[in-house]
Amino acid sequence: MRAFRVYAIKQGTVIDHIPEGKGVEIIELLSLRKWKKVVTLGMGFTSRKLGAKDIVKIEEKELNQDEANKIALIAPTATINIIRNFKLVRKTQVKVPRVIEGIVKCANPACITNHDHVRTRFYLEKAKPLLVLCHYCERYFDESALTLL
């Protein structure tokens, strides 16, 4: 049954262990609506680690490290599985980049980045639990304060 629900793909990437509800955000984050090939979103799978999880499968696209790192901001538990010819060739944990540019919005309403045309930039202060420092207003933010641009 399981094999039927989570069908295998021939080439591409399977993003597993996404916290429940974050699958849609990952599709937005990686602009996968524009991807010409098949993208599958599975929601609410049972997971021993997370309770419930989402899975995203992207056919014929291998995520690079930069793309994988972006995912870490909204789904720090995600794992990236690269599939070639139905075989798992590489499995990696996502890792928050040291410098996070143009991905998330600064939660400080008085920050210049919310008023002027400027790319946001944050520095990774701590990975677990996530804590970042805004390059501009010098405030710290945790995961709950971060929203995608």
């Binding site: 400080n108 008085a110 920050c111 210049i112 980045t113 008023h115 002027d116 045309h117 400027v118 520095y123 805004c134 390059h135 501009y136 207003c137 010098e138 405030r139 710290y140």
Partner: protein, 311 residues
């Protein structure tokens, strides 16, 4: 945080106290002393400072403009945000691109946090932050440190009380950080609702600052080298009764000063309202007016350093 490629201080932006090491801070204070001891009237002849105050602050603006004039440079000034391009909807980035062509160095005050950092990234000329919202006001920190060093003959290992509104008072945030770099013991004296905010405490813990929290200054007075007073604004209290309860606690009177050490000094970023009783002005402990005056020398030092005219 990354800076423009520079050798020493030439062409360097002055944005946040966090951009400076202990050695660099000490160097700035040393140069400031040179200008306090002896005027250098022709040093920046032919150099133009653009003074952009997107938010009014007469004191800071006068201090910068006077510092430039005293070094023989000249000033072009945007004193009133209401008449400026920004109120017509021009972005800060665009304003800076225009203004930088007319000058060699920019000082700016802006209500938004990070505005000076952004301006510095856009401008080819160095930018000095004259205050960006609740974030940073580095030249105030340098003049505070200069005054502390001047009165104590050293910066390391001092006992310093920061008193009043520590939540919204940005001057105490940067000063606490800088003093902690020099190994000070800090006493945070404030009503509980106005104590040091979390993000500032995080910065202080990162550099292993020594500190303690207090609601009353009385018991500390005999230990202190510096009492740094700030204004508590009535508007910060949702309940006026709450304000009236704390109002008297943080007022310095001669009575409070009975047990202080000889080297004890009172500083205040000014303007004061009633935090320091006027009777205190005549004691040897009052140093706030000299402190404000020191802004002139610290700003001269920074201007000369970033223009490459001091080493």
């Amino acid at each position: 945080m990354p800076q423009k490629a520079t050798v020493g201080f030439k062409n360097r932006d002055i944005i946040s106290i966090h951009d400076f090491s202990k050695d660099e801070i000490q160097h700035i204070l040393k140069v400031a002393k040179v200008y306090k001891d002896r005027p250098h009237p022709g040093l920046l002849k032919g150099t133009i400072l653009a003074s952009l105050f997107f938010e009014p602050s007469t004191r800071t603006r006068f201090s910068f403009e006077s510092a430039m004039e005293r070094l023989g440079g000249s000033v072009i000034s945007l004193a009133d945000a209401k008449s400026s391009s920004s109120s017509k909807g021009e972005s800060l980035s665009d304003s800076i691109r225009i203004v930088e062509k007319y000058c060699d160095v920019i000082v700016m005050r802006h209500p938004l946090e990070g505005a000076a950092r952004l301006a510095a990234e856009i401008s080819k000329n160095p930018v000095i932050n004259g205050g960006d919202g609740a974030n940073q006001h580095p030249t105030q920190t340098f003049l505070d440190l200069f005054s502390i060093q001047e009165t104590q003959k050293k910066l390391s290992g001092l006992h310093v009380a920061l008193v009043g509104d520590l939540k919204y008072g940005r001057t105490t945030h940067s000063l606490a950080y800088a003093l902690a770099l020099f190994g000070a013991k800090l006493y945070f004296v404030a009503p509980q609702s106005l104590q040091m905010p979390d993000h500032i405490m995080r910065n202080l813990k990162k550099i292993k600052a020594k500190y303690s929290f207090h609601t009353h200054p009385d018991q500390l007075m005999s230990k202190l080298d510096i009492f740094y007073a700030t204004r508590i604004q009535r508007e910060r209290f949702p309940d006026p009764l709450e304000y009236e309860k704390v109002e008297g606690i943080y007022v310095i009177t001669n009575k409070l000063l009975k047990k202080v050490k000889k080297n004890f000094r009172i500083l205040h970023p000014l303007p004061r309202v009633n935090e320091i009783n006027y009777e205190v002005d005549d004691t040897p402990y009052a140093y706030y007016f000299e402190q404000a005056n020191n802004g002139l020398y610290v700003r001269q030092a920074l201007l000369a350093l970033i223009m490459g005219k001091a080493s």
